[in-house]
């Protein structure tokens, strides 16, 4: 019989890493499964000014790397593998992996979210050819060139500011007449000479022969379509949850986010959700970490209530 963990955590972003930290500190055996990059979306941003305590040039990669080290220091196991499905029918839950499976008394699902596509013609074809969803990954290429950033949330405005460190000019195209982003970020952007904003405008097409050459955009008020030459297009139009593997197992909302209560409990007992993947109003590193901590504490409570204080058979 293989080892039965107290907690199996799906996703190695801030929510999962915090859950691991709290679980391990509570002397529970915890394993985090991550298929891609540790640190999640936070590891792809340079700017992390709003995470308390992360002062003096913190970066997403640096802070999340420390989160991982911290969880590991308390005993959390970190496994690189891909989750392909679940079995929640028995009391001991099974997380099915590409290379095996993991058994656990509780599961914390913290797979996060990923950037949403714009859905404009040319976007898919020109991905990696000037269309990007990751400013830190690709900003270098646009040194002294001109780029467009699409969106109006925190990510769009914040990443546009980051892009000005490389690009000559950054044009933010936003479908509304004001930003959703936090006021302090907007203020900073408005004071930046390299940033200009085109309001009430949607991007209808991205075009170029092999690499991005420009966009066609439409003013939603006048209906006027204009051509705009640019070297790069950065898309920051929101995120979508990564819930394909857990769909059908727990309750999701219409957009695919997991419905969990304040204690992070999902519709299945012993299965918790944390971070960007659940229905919530503010998706930030700080709220993801909070979710992770709450989920771990409630996982512990659930185990105490539902499992006898005997050690389950171990493979050792």
């Amino acid at each position: 019989m293989s080892k039965i963990y107290d907690v199996a955590i799906v996703g190695g972003g801030p929510a999962g890493l915090s859950a691991g930290l709290y679980a391990s500190r509570a002397k529970m055996s915890a394993i985090i499964i991550e298929k891609g990059k540790w640190g999640g979306q936070a590891s792809t941003t340079e700017e992390l000014e709003n995470y308390p305590g992360s002062v003096e040039h913190p970066t997403g990669p640096k802070v999340t790397e420390r989160m991982k080290l911290q969880a590991e220091a308390f005993g959390t196991e970190c496994l690189k593998d891909e989750v392909i499905g679940f079995d929640f029918l028995e009391k001991i839950k099974v997380v099915k992996l590409a290379k095996g499976e993991i058994k656990a008394k509780t599961v914390i699902f913290a797979a996060g979210a990923q950037p949403m596509l714009l859905g404009a013609p040319g976007e898919i074809e020109l991905r990696g050819k000037g269309v990007s969803y990751c400013a830190t990954c690709d900003a270098d290429f646009f040194t002294e060139l001109e780029v467009v950033a699409i969106g109006g949330g925190d990510a769009a405005v914040e990443e546009s500011i980051y892009l000005t460190k490389f690009a000559e000019k950054v044009t933010i195209v936003h479908r509304r007449d004001e930003f959703r982003a936090a006021k302090s970020i907007v203020e900073k952007a408005m004071q930046n000479d390299k940033i200009q904003v085109i309001w009430n405008t949607v991007v209808e097409e991205i075009y170029g022969d092999g690499i991005v050459e420009g966009i066609k955009m439409k003013n939603v008020q006048t209906g006027e379509v204009t051509d705009f030459k640019t070297d790069g297009v950065f898309v920051f139009v929101g995120t979508k949850p990564i819930t394909e593997t857990i769909k059908g197992h727990v309750e999701l909302d219409a957009k695919g986010y997991i419905i969990a209560d304040e204690e992070m409990r999902t519709s299945v007992e012993g299965v918790f959700a944390a971070g960007d993947v659940r229905v919530k109003s503010l998706r930030q590193v700080v709220t993801a970490c909070a979710d992770g901590a709450i989920a771990a504490v409630n996982a512990e409570k659930y185990i105490e209530k539902n499992f006898e204080h005997i050690t389950l058979p171990d493979a050792k």
């Binding site: 990059k37 990696g128 690709d138």
Partner: protein, 106 residues
């Protein structure tokens, strides 16, 4: 894995007969760096059958752009110096998809 730069790209990739895989990565590209150990494993496994190189785009920006690479991570297969196939973006570039790409050309 062979490091290619602006100085040897022509000889090692464009003038090489047969297939060559190039891993375009960057110093600030976290997904690229997360993939790197997996790519090295693949290079150990398939390196004798397929020539595999990596290119640091942070240090060779113009070269990357000349190859129409403006996004990371990107993996390109060249055959007799011609670009044959490529995959790009963090979601599309996984150890599995890279292995599939390699297998197609060995």
């Amino acid at each position: 894995m062979l490091d290619v730069t602006k100085d040897n790209f022509e000889a090692e990739v464009l003038q090489t007969s047969g297939a060559v895989l190039v891993d375009f990565w960057g110093e600030k590209c976290e997904p690229c760096k997360a993939l790197m150990p997996e790519v090295h494993k693949l290079a150990e496994q398939y390196g004798d059958k397929l020539k595999m190189c990596k290119l640091n785009t942070t240090e060779n920006r113009r070269l990357a752009i000349s190859q129409k690479v403006l996004g990371l991570p990107t993996f390109i297969i060249y055959k007799d110096g011609e670009k044959i196939k490529e995959i790009s973006g963090a979601e599309n570039c996984t150890p599995e998809s890279i292995e599939t790409l390699i297998k197609e050309f060995i």
